[in-house]
Symmetry: C2
Subunit: 401 residues, 2 copies
């Protein structure tokens, strides 16, 4: 069940943010902290890009013991492809650890922004010295990690484990340089569930694949992506240390959180005006369905047609055709669905007579589903993307200036 | 050596075009024919998309005997994903064969345009009845196969085989739905070289990989791509039927033609203002270099930065990082080159101090080369792309209207 709040919704967490001035010309907060009163079990998944940020290196080291207490994240600078990046990420961890009187090894650190510029550690040091956390700090923290995001991304859910009320909260950032094949973008999750590190990592991994890994904004897999979760056990449930019913309840709740944020990230893709959901059914198997769904979501031609409310379904078949999956085009059917209704536009791989004005009406909505039936077997998958607009170009032709 | 003209530059070829009215609201010619007086050896490479156009099916059948005499191509309708597509492509072949008094099996047929709309065979029939060919018809034919192309694509070269002068001519169309991994877009090549079908196919295949298959406009592999070549032997050289020196001379000339057109197609990518050449050197092997070059050329973020004259080299390293190639980011160096000069912007995977205004000046040109040295081994590759602009969105958000 969705509830109000974000990372401070679960018991025992505080958050806050401040303005360091990492990027010029903005008074927006750019440094966020999430902290737990008690030591937490912790897990994370990271970008699979061969070029990865210094904060990823440092967080990996810190999470080797499966414990953490604090998350720190700056926006405006990715601290990636810098000679002294790891050194500065370590320094930033030490500064925030000193400030909150915890061990440096209990810090999860993340950075997002421009690649290849030295992290302004002096500004960050000043920011850390003045940062304050509170039980109402989630919104502030969510706002501080935004870059080109237009929408603040925060969510919390409540669920029961054997009559004990448990909560999960999260904040995220997305927008650009977002593509499948990894633990995409930044999401920081907190929970008061009592769970072992091993089961926490397993739960996180299970929920990444059908959520963030099915999102594609622009095909670019970022260097700094990370999803982390810290669990402080304050809900008071019996420790989850095997894959039992309680574990399943936790995974279900976590799935709800991650699916919500994945869709939110897709919908707020750079320059996007629409959330594009591509649902494949009837594929040979789930793996094939995934490839097909991702190919359609990633196609620039499909994305621009969706932007233009143009029922140009030939581009959908074209994208399916290069997805590296075996199928007979003569069996494929395609439907568009939205709040405005639904319309069948292609059957047995060929056009059906459809009313263009109805199709345009269905497409003229902020959430569009393309439902493709391969008529092969029972494989299914759903991918999340967005339309491609002039605004994406505007944003990215001058990102650094 | 480049010479004037296109497909009618080699001896014994004529071409022409006419207006059938396949697309509304345009008086542009939309049907082209190329014909050889004598029967030709013929070869072709086709799209690898699982969803492919009816003309591909029919051309494959016709070229089974390795012979052809005529090429016909319409723009405005792809004749793809239609129930009666193959039937109509056969009918179109028969109509043009009757008109020019040749065998239907000697026709190479191609269509380009919207997918999933029935081919207007009556209009095409009328067009065929009035089409006229001449020795000056190459420009007309090149113009008729254009869709969103802004620039007419035609080229011819002359070379010698044992003191016999030989020629190769070609016309092409490109622009959108263009990606690597196939015999991309439409190119029709003619030559008066005397060569066996087997050697002709081999020469074509050899020259496709480093040219068209290294082009990426928007990552979308089209359903109708084809490169065909017909050779009528009128130059009078000794028949080329083995991989001897004469074969090599022919391959070199053909490479020149295909490289020229590949670059032209990239530069005239939909909405593009710049040709982007990505040159990888020092990779582990050529295969790795290819993957790396293609990843950079395909990155929307690199493409938009090039559009904005923004030396945002972090995006180049990011793209290299997800190219599925093993390397150490700390060894990579990156240079920008253009007519306006060159500038080193990244060394050992990190920023070098460079003058932003100089970098912007180098990028402010219509042909940009990104030179990446992996410092691993001797692998090299060059890929061709273009920038991504608002215009691409404009064109594709309303392509069918």
């Amino acid at each position: 069940m969705f509830i109000e709040g974000g990372v401070t919704a679960p018991k025992g967490f505080k958050a806050g943010a401040t303005h360091c001035g990492i990027r010029k010309n903005t008074r927006k907060n750019d440094l966020a902290v999430i902290i737990s009163e008690k030591i937490c079990t912790a897990a994370a998944v990271y970008t699979q890009n061969k070029v990865f940020g210094a904060p990823i290196t440092v967080t990996r080291e810190h999470l080797q013991d499966g414990k953490a207490k604090l998350v720190i994240c700056n926006s405006g600078n990715a601290n990636t492809c810098n000679k002294d990046g790891v050194e500065l990420a370590n320094k930033m961890s030490q500064l925030v650890a000193d400030k909150f009187n915890i061990n440096k090894e209990d810090v999860i650190i993340a950075s997002t922004g421009v690649i290849g510029q030295t992290l302004p550690i002096d500004k960050i040091s000043q920011g850390i010295s003045k940062i304050a956390v509170s039980e109402n700090g989630s919104v502030e923290a969510a706002e501080a990690i935004m870059t080109t995001d237009l929408v603040l991304k925060e969510v919390a859910v409540e669920f029961e484990i054997e009559n004990t009320i448990c909560k999960i909260g999260a904040i995220a950032k997305g927008s650009g340089m977002i593509a499948p094949n990894m633990a995409t973008m930044l999401t920081f999750i907190t929970t008061d569930v009592n769970i072992s590190t091993e089961m926490l990592q397993l739960a996180l991994t299970k929920t990444i694949e059908p959520t963030y890994n099915m999102v594609d904004v622009d095909g670019d897999t970022s260097t700094n992506d990370m999803v982390s979760i810290i669990a402080n056990g304050e809900a008071g449930n019996d420790l989850i240390d095997t894959e039992n019913e309680n574990f399943k309840a936790f995974v279900d709740a976590l799935m709800e959180v991650n699916l919500f944020l994945a869709k939110m990230i897709a919908k707020d893709g750079e320059g996007a005006t629409k959330l594009l959901i591509v649902e494949i059914i009837g594929a040979n198997n789930d793996q094939d369905a995934k490839k097909l769904a991702k190919a359609v979501t990633a196609s620039s031609l499909v994305k621009t047609a969706v932007y233009g409310n143009d029922a140009n379904w030939g581009r959908i078949l074209c994208a399916l055709g290069y997805a590296d999956v075996e199928f007979d085009p003569n069996n494929v059917s395609v439907k568009f669905l939205s709040k405005n209704g639904e319309i069948l536009i292609c059957e047995q791989g060929a056009s059906v007579m459809f009313d263009e004005s109805v199709a345009t009406h269905v497409l003229n909505e902020s959430e569009i589903t393309i439902l493709v039936d391969m008529h092969q077997n029972n494989g299914t998958a759903t991918a999340f993307g967005c339309d491609l607009t002039e605004k994406y170009i505007d944003i990215n032709a001058s990102y650094r200036s």
